[in-house]
């Protein structure tokens, strides 16, 4: 931080403290929220954007994670050409698939949009949204509804540029080095916004597995040792915040689904900082335990996070 930036930050922080003092007599929201490890917000029939706002505010407000002038990456899951109703990714959503929103193969566009909006409200300078998709990127971005939902808010929605992968050394059990997307490491803050859905090998794909969307090269090979590989990846990718989208979950035929019969509407979001804890809690939505998932177990063993949700302070919230 150079001197000028320091002075600016100090001035802003100082003013903020003064104003904050004047407005709240009690504890500030961020202090209150830090008591909880996870926020699980449920809002039957409520708009996804409202649930998102409530969730973020319960976890301490976006200002807890995003500072003025930050460059934020929101990583959704847009891996598939599916409609929003078929599943959900920095705000790194999951945009991997050519599916429409109702098909729950990609992150819910309303959730991603609400998070992007909150980032800007918290003073973010730039918000980037991208995913290395499985189906054709043009179709995934468009059909998932995410591109349209966030570009109008001023977020930078860009397709993966192959030149921006950099070999990152990872002192992992399995992965020693892998080409990962530069923007993740150049951003001030990274927000992981995966969707909860079924997967043939990993059983479920949620927060940790969403990082496959920033892997270059022959990423399919990591399925050979999926648990350790994903945990290794999380050694270097550390999002400030993770919001698991369970507005709609995909219970079978994942990760891309296609049949609305496999989609279950839960109107739920789970937010927190610990990705292992979030995935562990996410497993319960499908009637599983965190220890059923190889990557959650590996992440827990490597000390990346905690899978024992009985020991977590969870704020269960009805919107």
């Amino acid at each position: 931080m150079d001197r000028r930036k320091f002075l600016k930050t100090a001035a802003v922080a100082g003013c903020g403290l003064l104003i904050g003092e004047a407005l709240h007599s009690g504890v500030s929201p961020s202090e209150a929220a830090e008591k909880y490890d996870l926020v699980v917000a449920h809002g039957a029939g409520k708009p996804a954007s409202d649930i998102t706002k409530a969730t973020i505010s319960a976890i301490g407000g976006m200002k807890r994670f995003v500072s003025r002038g930050d460059i934020v990456v929101v990583k959704p899951n847009i891996g598939w050409d599916r409609l929003p109703e078929q599943a959900a990714n920095v705000v790194k959503p999951n945009i991997g698939w050519d599916r429409l929103p109702e098909q729950a193969a990609n992150t819910n566009p309303e959730v991603v949009a609400a998070i992007v909006k909150l980032c800007f409200e918290a003073g973010a300078k730039k918000v980037k949204v991208f995913d290395r998709t499985c189906n054709d990127p043009r179709r995934c971005y468009k059909q998932s509804g995410i591109s349209d939902a966030v570009s109008s808010l001023g977020a930078e929605v860009s397709f993966i540029d192959e030149r921006r992968f950099r070999d990152i050394s990872i002192k992992g059990q399995v992965i020693k080095s892998w080409p990962l997307y530069r923007d993740i490491f150049e951003a001030d803050k990274v927000i992981n916004v995966p969707v909860a859905k079924h997967h043939g090998l990993a059983k479920l794909t949620m927060a940790m597995k969403n990082w496959m969307g920033v892997m270059g090269g022959q990423r399919g090979s990591i399925h050979q040792k999926i648990g350790e590989s994903l945990a290794d990846l999380c050694l270097v990718i550390k999002p400030s915040l993770t919001v698991l989208d369970a507005i709609r979950i995909l219970t079978a035929n994942g990760p891309q689904g296609g049949d609305l019969k496999d989609v279950k509407r839960l109107d739920t979001l789970i937010a927190g900082v610990d990705q292992v804890a979030i995935d562990s809690y996410g497993a319960t939505l499908f009637g599983m335990k965190g220890s059923d998932l190889s990557y959650v177990k590996a992440g827990n063993a490597m000390g990346i996070g905690s899978m024992d949700i009985s020991r977590l302070k969870i704020n269960r919230l009805n919107v």
């Binding site: 050519d98 189906n135 059909q143 022959q218 399919g220 689904g257």
Partner: protein
């Protein structure tokens, strides 16, 4: 403003329109393209006639009837299409303008060659052989641009900007990346394009352009079958060239003539060769040339009875000759010949496909590639899916939307996702869970059908060290597989995939079936 200037403006505008529609023949992520990208082919009467004959009046795409407008305009005004509109003609004149010295034109009798070519194409189409697309100028230019010229330009520009990018000179890279970003949004392809036959079609195209250095519009004068067809239509055209008594027979007009329609001394003008370019009008020092609704009798082109008979015979003989390949047997087919979804049954498909390459240009994964001899000589440059280059994207219907001839049916998404291109098979000797007891599920993960055509059988296998473990071995449900090939495209077993699609089971064939 002189008529020549008007003509040049018209040529320029139509060339730009052509390029615009060509570049817009690319997905933006929506289900449809939003532009009539095959417009030029719709106005092509040669493609219309040969399709009409070859398909024996089967369903003709409605767009083709626009080509009747071309015929009507030609009957009234002559070959204005060639002179004012044709994008290949315009490129020919541009290249021709680089020729420094006046060339000596070939003997007038060489003009007949294109009529013989036309006769071969028309007669063979009457006997159901559709090979007009090989020489039809619009088909040729779209194909050449799709598989060769555009990828060439695109890859060249990318290489330039990548080189600048890798210099890491901060100021320079910022500027170049900004320009690069704009180009990516406008002129460049979404991703680098690669085509088989790119060199072959490119060389042919450059040779055609280079012929202009021998003689301006060499292709248009001597080879173009569409020019010949329009020449026949203009035989009785109303717009005629007249020379007043002021003509000194200096021959300047003959030299300026783009179609080679005027004899050396300006004592003979052939309507069928005139491109209505008005070069003669503008170049005449005596101002003695005019165009109007004259009564002068048109000069007929004498094609020679024997030569016409020989051409017709050639056209007829070409049909059994090109079809005396084992590929014509219903019981034999090239297993790797995967046709795009919605392609008609192979024989019907070949009667329709005009080899324009629109489907290959629009294919969202670059998987549709031109054949060489995989479908016989008759099927040269027709589309074939090579999953290892690019699979058929489950929810994409673009190839059927752009096909001008109805060789690939236009289908709603619902219907398209049910069309079987072929069936996937597993190479157990290469597949990781089968051959090496290593977990891998990529094919199953990628399989787009619901329920998935690829399912797992959990099997206990033993490793070299004697340790037993359970692996998920992929199996294929032949009742669900549609042969889209995404499994083959994404299979992590490098070079040769452990799962591959052949055309057995394809919906369009009755003979090539596997299941009872």
């Amino acid at each position: 403003m002189s008529k020549q200037i008007l003509r040049k403006i018209s040529q320029g505008l139509f060339l730009l329109l052509f390029l615009f529609l060509f570049i817009r023949t690319e997905s933006k992520g929506n289900d449809t393209l939003g532009y009539p990208v095959r417009l030029f082919l719709d106005f092509d009467p040669l493609i219309f006639l040969t399709t009409l004959f070859a398909s024996r009046g089967g369903q003709i795409p409605a767009g083709f009837f626009l080509s009747l407008i071309t015929i009507l305009v030609t009957i009234v005004l002559g070959r204005v299409f060639c002179g004012w509109l044709c994008p290949l003609g315009t490129l020919n004149t541009i290249v021709g303008s680089f020729r420094r010295r006046q060339s000596i034109p070939l003997d007038a009798k060489w003009h007949r060659l294109k009529y013989y070519i036309l006769i071969v194409l028309i007669v063979s189409s009457v006997f159901t052989l559709q090979i007009a697309g090989i020489m039809d100028p619009l088909s040729l230019i779209i194909r050449s641009f799709s598989v060769s010229i555009y990828p060439l330009a695109d890859n060249g520009i990318r290489a330039l900007f990548d080189t600048i990018y890798n210099t890491n000179i901060s100021g320079l890279v910022d500027v170049s990346e900004a320009v690069y970003g704009l180009l990516k949004k406008s002129l460049l392809a979404f991703r680098p394009l690669f085509y088989l036959q790119a060199v072959f079609t490119g060389v042919i195209f450059f040779l055609i352009l280079a012929m202009n250095l021998i003689e301006n519009r060499f292709w248009c004068k001597y080879l173009c079958p569409l020019g010949a067809l329009l020449g026949l239509c203009s035989r009785y055209s109303v717009l005629k060239r007249e020379t007043s008594e002021g003509c000194t027979g200096c021959g300047i007009c003959a030299k300026a003539c783009q179609g080679g329609a005027i004899s050396e001394k300006n004592d003979n003008w052939r309507n069928t060769e005139c491109l209505a370019c008005f070069s003669c009008d503008d170049s005449c020092p005596q101002n003695a040339v005019s165009f109007g609704l004259g009564k002068q009798k048109n000069q007929a082109m004498d094609l020679g009875r024997r030569q016409v008979m020989a051409s017709m015979l050639s056209g007829a003989l070409a049909v059994p000759l090109l079809r005396s390949t084992p590929l014509s047997k219903t019981t034999y087919s090239n297993p790797d010949l995967l046709r795009p979804p919605g392609a008609l049954e192979e024989k019907e498909f070949l009667k329709r496909c005009v080899k324009c390459g629109e489907c290959m240009k629009v294919c969202i994964t670059n998987g549709l590639q031109p054949t060489l001899l995989e479908a016989g000589l008759e099927g040269i440059w027709s589309p074939r899916l090579i999953p290892r280059i690019g699979h058929c994207e489950y929810r994409c219907t673009l190839c059927g939307q752009v096909c001008p001839a109805g060789a690939i049916r236009r289908m709603p998404l619902e219907e398209k996702t049910k069309v079987i291109i072929g069936l996937a098979m597993i190479d157990k000797g290469r597949c990781l869970p089968y051959a090496h007891a290593i977990p891998c599920i990529v094919c199953e993960e990628m399989c787009p059908t619901s329920p998935k055509a690829i399912w797992f059988e959990e099997t206990v296998v033993r490793r070299r060290d004697g340790k037993e473990l359970i692996v998920q071995q992929p199996r294929i449900d032949l009742n669900l597989c549609i042969g889209c090939g995404i499994c083959e495209a994404k299979c992590p077993v490098g070079n040769r995939a452990a799962i591959y699609v052949t055309n057995i089971g394809e919906s369009r064939s009755q003979a090539n079936q596997l299941l009872l």
